[in-house]
Symmetry: C2
Subunit: 411 residues, 2 copies
């Protein structure tokens, strides 16, 4: 291991929490510590907090190897998160000057940011600005998102665990619904604004002991009510209990979100993304009115991104490696990069880590390939299952205290 010597580093977390985002934080912390780094600072609530000079010395909170293991098992963002869009430097240089002043005061040489494509936009802007002002601070992005919508990398830490939770919960829901002999329809709403990776993961529930959902609707395809009803009626000819997985982001041909049919207004975040939700309940009500059959909407909501009690072991290991590799890249003097995974083999599953220019990732959304969706747009293909199955393998037992998983936290 190359030594950082006595350099200080800082790490932040941004965007939606995941079950394994803290494993990446643990990877940064342990690798930087082992490399001899003096202070490993943690931004509270990402750069939004850093701009208010809210940060901690991580060694005050992660005190030993047991704490590192607890941190890996803690869902959501240990340091807190933000949805803060950094303005362009040409529009507002003052915020950059403030940030660099704070970093210089802390004698920080390496800056790590764990997040999705919006967060990579932050790394992009900061690394460009550093070049402009000839700062020697390096900026490295660590991929994180349950949505799996980052380009270049084979997949994203956080996806495997969310996919595992979704497939497992879908299996349990199907078993629950099929206990009744009475006809019913269950619509399960899964996160995913423009990319259907998470909803597609519901197909992983199909196995020897579970038929899986009957229909899967991704935002990659236009949603058509008539075709939908026709499919439902076809299925009801041979089975009475129907289960449907829908992405919160499905839209009709006029570009309108299905969930918007149900709402007076849809709120947007700092990046202009609409807060979705309501698709499952709306479709369940619609189906009840169309078929007269008991229809239930189930929304996984935040449960799918914080269920650290049932993570994918592979995901949590890879998340740690991504954090660790980011430190390695920084030590090599790299900046404006994001850690990536390249799948060299699927059977057996093998990946190598690499990196790419963060410009290729920032603000880009990778959707499910068209050929991985069935022609009629109501399911995913075997190719998808082959891709996703290895990502949900293995478990990491929570540390149970008084009957519940124990987490690490900052007061």
């Amino acid at each position: 291991m190359i030594k950082i010597g006595c350099a200080n580093v800082i790490v932040g977390q941004s965007g939606g929490p995941t079950s394994v985002i803290n494993s990446s934080l643990a990877g940064v912390f342990k690798t930087a510590k082992d490399a001899g780094c003096r202070h490993i600072f943690g931004m509270r609530n990402g750069i939004e907090g850093l701009l208010e000079e809210r940060y901690v010395d991580l060694s005050d909170h992660v005190k030993n190897d047991l704490d590192i293991e607890l941190l890996k098992r803690t869902p959501s963002s240990f340091l807190g998160t933000c949805r803060f869009k950094l303005p362009d430097a040409c529009e507002n240089e003052e915020v950059y000057q403030r940030l660099f002043k704070i970093l210089n005061n802390l004698d920080v040489k390496h800056f790590f940011y764990i997040g999705g494509n919006d967060s990579m936009d932050t790394i992009k802007k900061l690394s460009h600005y550093a070049k402009k002002i000839k700062s020697d601070i390096t900026f490295i992005g660590i991929p994180k998102t349950i949505d799996n919508d980052l380009s270049v990398t084979d997949h994203t830490p956080g996806y495997g665990s969310a996919a595992k939770y979704i497939a497992m919960a879908m299996k349990e829901i199907i078993r629950d619904a099929t206990a009744y002999s009475k006809p019913s329809i269950t619509v399960v709403e899964i996160m995913g604004r423009n990319a259907g990776w998470l909803t597609a993961a519901s197909a992983l529930s199909r196995a020897e002991d579970c038929h899986g959902p009957d229909l899967i609707y991704l935002p990659e395809r236009v949603f058509d009510y008539d075709k939908f009803m026709s499919k439902i009626r076809d299925i009801q000819k041979y089975k009475s209990v129907v289960t449907i997985a829908v992405s919160e982001g499905i839209r009709t041909s006029d570009g309108k979100y299905v969930c918007e049919s149900n709402k007076q207004k849809v709120v947007e975040d700092a990046f202009g993304h609409k807060y979705l939700g309501g698709t499952g309940l709306y479709l369940a009500d619609f189906l009840a009115s169309q078929t007269g059959i008991k229809s239930r909407g189930i929304v996984f909501s935040t449960l799918q991104r914080c269920a650290s009690h049932m993570v994918s072991r592979r995901d949590i290991t890879e998340a740690f490696v991504a954090g660790s590799d980011a430190v390695r890249l920084a030590l090599e003097g790299k900046t404006g990069k994001m850690v990536t995974f390249e799948r060299t083999s699927n059977m057996p599953y093998q990946i190598i880590t690499s990196s790419c220019d963060v410009d290729l990732v920032a603000n880009v959304e990778k959707v499910v390939p068209d050929e991985w969706i069935t022609d009629d747009g109501t399911y995913v293909s075997k190719k998808f299952v082959e891709y996703a199955r290895p990502l949900i393998i293995g478990e990491l037992s929570p540390f149970m205290v008084d009957g519940l998983p124990r987490h690490l936290f900052i007061d």
Copy 2:
């Protein structure tokens, strides 16, 4: 063990599924088998299915000890369930004649029914009718309900696992919500029509590493919007992220369910129970409009009753014992009884099994004692926690196949 000899027995499951209802089934099966019973029949979809002569020989589906372990780890009702209200014999004797004819044709001597207070109504009616017609068939009830609302018994198999899931998910949700620095309110809707046992279990999330929900509203107390808003505003003075646990069954002083404010009509089941749901989303919308703060409703829905991937080890063991004890009672010639648990010590936790006349349980709902709810009706007391904590202790690892828990099923 007393031998049944070559008697045949039949077992059914009724009412809402749980994570451990199949552990009771496994207890009946294994104990009856070990006692030398010839056929152990399983009703498909409870007595509703039995009336249609739909049943299986359980030995065809539970073939070895590994299957028994799989069965214990399978959520929902392995045999299928029903919500069938047996008419009074004086109103409709024909249905009784049909049932006893089917039982006699199968040479069944012992009838076991795993269910809640509605199911105990079935056991009550059948055992009374058997006495009337001088049939020697015995009828034993095995308690099952996540709601924990059965009287006489200290607690009910199924509750501990649902309570564990609720407390765990609450902890994960709170960690997710507190990752953001922006103010927010999360309303978590938990099952419970008239009894708040499940919602109360959210308090178990309070520990060294989690502050737990800020407010807990049970159906045992009248819900008052003004007092609710006043509480919320008090809490917002010192914290920005507020979490509230509400029972689906909370009602205002006019007796109206809060969720009814949101609906045009509320559907009822065969027992006249209203299908509730919508309370959490309705209150979240209400809070958003009142406070202007981002408010989210999360509904556990069926996830809380079928999350067999994270059961309470104690619950699953006790569920098995309840099934096993039912067979013992039948062998002793008892009828019209339900297996009960009596807690002889809380520290250390110890129970003994016993039984009671099913008449004491049928159609009776046990609610959370008034003294276990705080005076202002917004939380539960230490007494509740001391009662419930032992019930969520321990885990039973699922059998993982291809990254997901494996279940036992009937085609």
